[in-house]
Point group: C3
Chain length 275, copies 3
């Protein structure tokens, strides 16, 4: 019985050490049939929230898989390891909220298990490298022939640690939220959705009032950054449906000084004023 | 019918987000038989010329493949997406010149198609992520069972956008050109070839006069940087046949302040002076 | 006959150029059955010692493979290329000591060959890119159908270049060594082992006196960094069994100013003083 052809793998291990490769090697020994899709290994060290956001936004485009994610500042302490069935996939990692947004995006946890079955671990377990010694070998066994229930003791899905959802509020003509992520290009992704923008009357081709702290900016709302001149600020709904601020050909996060967590609100500007 | 076992993939997406993985996932769903060779995802954002150079220098060493390349500052605007047959491969990406040098290196475009057939796209297309929603799914279909002509409307190969070739001029005892790329080691690759150097009388073991702006340097021309002492400047013909400046064990681009595009000329020094 | 399903690949090539991909392409053409596990390509340019440490610490977790490693400041000079059988694997790279610690970790060199058989090389060899033109094609042939002896002339295993072992001395209640590596998290790995610590009386749960240059610190010795408060220094035996200094949630190498090679000693503090 082979359960999954694919594993996916997200960590904060970086690429300069051999940590990721050691985990790939563990999978190759246990599940030689499985291909690994590396999501990213450049989550800032210990940034569980960033890891959760990247995982949740990427998994919908991956094939059914055992998704292994390890951003785990509490490694070796009392926090549990878990395997969670959601949608057509299984999620494996620490029970610190890292998996929670992706599990929700996959339709919610159907069943959950604590990784208590040592038979699926490597025979020697380091207290500081559970990715190599517990999470990856368990995932590789689950991908190959082990039933999910073999991972360990079943736990209530309601007992899983979940990260608080990002702040997001829609009222009348204003939507308020926070910076969820900043990507490589410096595009600033808010927790406000494109649908929120539509609901408050912000429409592609129109204009939006953006408030950041004491500043306010009147910006075009377009389909893509290329719709404005190079160097100009623009807003748009991004490829996962979230409201974004960008500079065409530039870095909006640097220009605006907007780190993850910063509060931002948007307000529709009636089209009569737009014109 | 399976057309290609391999895809290759070059972008400016970076490795800190899930963008590359989402594209890998799209390919895995459509073309589970295909292996992806990642060329690089660290092209500086929007640097089409750098992307074109890396692609053209790498593709000759890759197996026949559907080569997907996305450095696409105009994503979502009027620029076309294209699929181009050249040599034993197919190139897929935006029609902004990114593919042009690699297509030339592969023997030139045999046929070209505009990516107008939406049946090969994902069902929902974001205006800002055509790599995930158009280029990769089209490439995966072409690798699997779709004929190239299924990609869309055929276009004249002469209508494809091509990047201007790098400056390069050879006359008498001098060859002039520009910095084409700087690699991780700080080695400075010129648009002048090793064959140009030979033609003007610069021979391995000899000496060459290098002019950069107002400076001129008399440098050894050798087979490899290890032929000079650590910390010394040296010139050589690199692994793709282009004339390079390097510092053995150091970074020539930093030492000389030479960015891509800087003008450089080389002149042979008669061997009687060499000795 | 297929000898190895896996290759592993470690270099200092970086990820911004197409160098790694060109090597992957060479392997795909010669050994299409083989999967490549990338160990890392971010070894600092020319840092043979760092490459040796990462390789030696990662290989024990990889499946049997042809391990290709290229950190090769002497490329194109007189240094040999070698293929070494050790344990259940083969190691291919320059004979500059890079492979030596991993070979030792794999049980020591059983046989060794100089890569003199040009039939396993690419037909054109650049003096500056032996990874692409010699090491990878030889490795791919060895993974596929070539016997190890086909690589070239057999050489005495005692003639292989080996890196000096890191400094390490244990006496009475003190163990002295050097910083072997610093990882992405800033954790400082010493050449002193957890077994050395146990031997001098340092026990998990206890306290250790750490001397760095003129400074001395009294630090807890625990199983994992999460055992101390965020921001606190801690020592522990890491996932490969070496004594480490870390800051929980922080960067110990930066905090302490400890680069690779720095001298450090540890001394047990009698438990009566601990309490």
């Amino acid at each position: 019985v082979t359960h999954f052809r694919y594993l996916s793998f997200l960590t904060d291990y970086g690429l300069e050490d051999g940590f990721v490769a050691a985990c790939h090697g563990v999978s190759a020994r246990i599940a030689p049939h499985a291909d690994i899709i590396d999501v990213t290994h450049l989550i800032p060290p210990g940034d569980v929230r960033r890891g959760a956001a990247v995982l949740a936004q990427t998994v919908p485009y991956l094939p059914p898989a055992v998704h292994v994610a390890v951003v785990d500042p509490g490694v070796g302490t009392a926090r549990r390891g878990i395997a969670v069935a959601a949608g057509d996939s299984v999620f494996v990692g620490p029970d610190n909220g890292l998996l929670s947004w992706a599990v929700t995006a996959a339709g919610g946890a159907a069943r959950a298990f604590s990784l208590t079955n040592r038979e699926l671990w490597l025979s020697r377990v380091s207290p500081t490298f559970h990715g190599r010694d517990i999470f990856m070998p368990v995932a590789a066994h689950l991908a190959t022939d082990a039933e999910l229930a073999a991972a360990g003791a079943e736990i209530e899905v309601g007992d899983l640690v979940t990260l608080p959802a990002p702040e997001r509020m829609v009222r009348d003509f204003t939507a308020a939220g926070e910076v969820l992520t900043v990507d490589r290009f410096g595009n600033v992704q808010l927790s406000i959705t494109g649908a929120d923008a539509a609901q408050i009357g912000v429409k592609p081709g129109g204009t939006v009032l953006v408030r950041l702290g004491h500043r306010q900016l009147t910006l075009p709302y377009r389909d893509t950054f290329g719709a404005v001149a190079t160097g100009e600020l623009v807003t748009y709904a991004d490829s996962v449906g979230l409201f974004c601020l960008a500079v065409n050909g530039g870095n909006a996060a640097q220009r605006l000084g907007l780190p993850p967590g910063a509060r931002v609100s948007i307000t529709a500007i009636p089209s009569i004023i737009n014109e």
